[in-house]
Structure formats: structure tokens, C-alpha cells
């Protein structure tokens, strides 16, 4: 019993540590004006949340968060940052009070909502009954793939994933339509440079 309680305490400490780090990074992002530092800190924020997802046993989500949040969106935000100014404009005092009121109200509502949540890992919670158990039971016979997340994503919910692929493709299409193809705008930049010289 002592070992079990010790493990529980260690998990609780890790959770508190990670969430505390997230809070500190969040406050730092809110107080900063340098866009470069904000982009870097948001990458760190994603990396810490990925670590926290691992602690919650959601490894697939953690992997996606680390690859997308910490990897590619940091690079994309850096690219977008180069098109604009390096620092954000300082806000007036009145403009600062409204966001903090919104944050406090939303946070209070979320904390109030957690009272009704089932305990973490509760086998009787709605997430762990109905289709969830069904997939767990049927995947070994029907799909024979060890990673049930992949089985649900690509086979049981293959049609949804097709739609998601379409969404990603459409997003790229929209950005290309707005900003133009990379090579043409690059040529335009080179021409501007030449005109200057």
C-alpha cells in the first residue's frame, strides 16, 4: 500500500509541476511584447503540454501536439512574424482589464464544471463505456492492429479521416490563394531588391 500511495504522490507532483510550468509560460506570453520571444514561448508551451499528455497516458495526442504545436506551428509563426513588426503595440490600462475579467470568468466556470467530471480513469465514466469498450473488444479480431487509436482513426472512422485530410488540403489551398505561391512572391522580392540597387 505504501508503494502505491508513493506512486500516486509522484504522479500528483508531476502533474502539479507541469501545470505550474504551463501557467508560468502562459503568464510570460501574456506579459511579453517581443513577438520572437512569444513565438518561442508558445512552442515551449506546446512541448510542456505534450509532456503532460504523456503523463495522462494520451501518447498519440502528445505526439501530435509535440510535432504540430512545438514543431511546425512554431516554424510557421516564425515565417508569419517576418512579414510583420517585431514587437506588439503596448495596450492601454483599460484594454488590459477586459481580457483578465474574461479569463477569470471562463476559469471560474471551468473549475465549477470540473466538480461534475468523473474521476480520471474511472471505468464507469461515459468515455470508457459504450463505443470505447466496443472498439477495445472488437479491434483484435476485426482489424488485428495493436494500436487501437490507429484502428479507430484509419479503419472504423476512415470516412472522418478522409474529411480531415480534405480540411488540411483546403487550408493549404486557402493560404496559397491569399498569399500566392511561394516561388512567385520570392521572385517579386528579388525584383524589388534589384530595383533598389
Amino acid at each position: 500500500m505504501i508503494g502505491y500511495a508513493g506512486a500516486d504522490l509522484a504522479i500528483a507532483l508531476i502533474n502539479v509541476l507541469l501545470l505550474g510550468l504551463l501557467f508560468v509560460v502562459g503568464v510570460a506570453i501574456a506579459r511579453m511584447r517581443s513577438l520572437f520571444a512569444i513565438v518561442m514561448l508558445s512552442g515551449i508551451y506546446s512541448l510542456i503540454s505534450a509532456t503532460w499528455f504523456v503523463a495522462l497516458d494520451a501518447v498519440d495526442v502528445a505526439f501530435t501536439e509535440a510535432a504540430v504545436g512545438a514543431g511546425i506551428s512554431t516554424a510557421l509563426l516564425l515565417g508569419a512574424m517576418l512579414l510583420t513588426a517585431r514587437t506588439a503595440k503596448p495596450e492601454t490600462r483599460a484594454m488590459r482589464i477586459v481580457p483578465i475579467l474574461v479569463v477569470i470568468a471562463t476559469g471560474a466556470m471551468l473549475v465549477y464544471a470540473t466538480i461534475d467530471l468523473p474521476a480520471f480513469g474511472d471505468p464507469d465514466s461515459p468515455a470508457n463505456t459504450y463505443v470505447g469498450t466496443d472498439y477495445l473488444e472488437r479491434t483484435p479480431e476485426e482489424i488485428a492492429v495493436p494500436n487501437i487509436v490507429t484502428a479507430v482513426l484509419a479503419s472504423y472512422r476512415g470516412f472522418d479521416t478522409l474529411g480531415e485530410t480534405g480540411v488540411v488540403f483546403t487550408a493549404a489551398l486557402a493560404v496559397i490563394l491569399l498569399l500566392g505561391f511561394g516561388e512567385r512572391s520570392l521572385a517579386a522580392t528579388f525584383n524589388r531588391k534589384k530595383d533598389k540597387n
Binding site: 520572437f36 501518447v59 498519440d60 502528445a62 505526439f63 501530435t64 510535432a67 504540430v68 514543431g71 511546425i72 516554424a75 510557421l76 516564425l78 515565417g79 508569419a80 517576418l82 512579414l83 517585431r86 476485426e142 482489424i143 488485428a144 492492429v145 495493436p146 494500436n147 487509436v149 490507429t150 484502428a151 482513426l153 484509419a154 479503419s155 476512415g158 470516412f159 479521416t161 478522409l162 485530410t165 480534405g166 488540411v168 488540403f169 487550408a171 493549404a172 493560404v175 496559397i176 491569399l178 498569399l179 500566392g180 505561391f181 511561394g182 516561388e183 512567385r184 512572391s185 520570392l186 522580392t189 528579388f190 531588391k193
Partner: protein, 153 residues
């Protein structure tokens, strides 16, 4: 990018260069091992793009566009979506429902080859679509400025 002005990034360049093939190889592992461990086509596609973005960051956007042309990136995005959808059409032709992998290879009931290769093929479609789309978005943003200025690092 070669020139006296960028020479003090030589350590960054030497350290980052051997990482690029390892990142690309890891992406392939993530894709083909997606049945057994966390990961799959989406994560693999993003990781491949990270390798190319790293190349663009240390060697400049123009060499990156020469290595992986933007027209290739956006064709890859379309091709990925077509691969995914055509697996569905394939299962329709074989007499099953759309994206029903059980019928792909006319197996006996209880065979799992259709499921296994069906999942691998649609994940390949996802990989192509995600990698092509993300790279196109990166090129659209990064292609508008020539390079990151030294004082911005």
C-alpha cells in the same frame, strides 16, 4: 547563402545538417510503425516537413525551394487526397462499402491483409496530403522574405 555575413552560423549549420536525414528517417518510422506505436501518417507528414523547414532555416529558402520545388509540394498535397479517396473507390469496385478494407484483396473471412494494407495506404495518403499542405503553407509565408536577418536571431 554563402558569404562572410552568414559565416558565424557555421556551428549551427554543421550541427543541424546531420539531423536532417535522421528526422526524415524518423518520419518514415513513425508512418510504417503507426500500427504498433503512437503515430501515423499525420505525424509523419509533419515531421518530414520539419526536416525541410530546418533545411530552409539554416541554408535559406531558395536552396530549399530548389531541393523541394513548391510545385512538387502542392502536387503532393493533391496526390495524397487522391490516394486516400481512391482506396475508397477501390473497395467500392471490389463490391464493398466505401473505405471498407476487408474486401480489398478478396480474402477469406478472418483475413487481415486488407485491413493492414488498407490502413497503411490511407495513412500514406494522409502523409502526402499533410506534408504537401504544410510545406505549401510554409513556402507561402517564408517565400515572401528572402532571409532572416542576423539581428532577429
Amino acid at each position: 547563402m554563402a558569404g562572410p555575413r552568414t559565416d558565424h552560423h557555421v556551428v549551427l549549420r554543421i550541427v543541424a545538417k546531420p539531423l536532417i536525414p535522421i528526422i526524415a528517417l524518423f518520419a518514415l518510422y513513425v508512418h510504417f510503425h503507426g500500427d504498433y506505436s503512437p503515430g501515423g501518417g499525420f505525424q509523419a507528414g509533419v515531421i518530414i516537413v520539419v526536416a525541410i523547414v530546418l533545411y530552409a532555416l539554416i541554408f535559406g529558402i531558395t536552396p530549399a525551394m530548389r531541393a523541394v520545388p513548391p510545385v512538387f509540394a502542392r502536387s503532393l498535397a493533391g496526390l495524397g487526397f487522391i490516394i486516400y479517396a481512391s482506396v475508397g473507390v477501390w473497395s467500392l469496385i471490389m463490391g464493398g462499402n466505401f473505405l471498407d478494407y476487408d474486401v480489398l484483396f478478396n480474402e477469406e473471412p478472418g483475413g487481415h491483409m486488407g485491413q493492414h494494407y488498407g490502413i497503411l495506404m490511407v495513412e500514406l495518403g494522409v502523409l502526402f496530403a499533410v506534408a504537401g499542405s504544410m510545406l505549401s503553407i510554409f513556402y507561402a509565408f517564408a517565400g515572401r522574405v528572402t532571409e532572416i536577418k542576423d539581428e532577429d536571431w
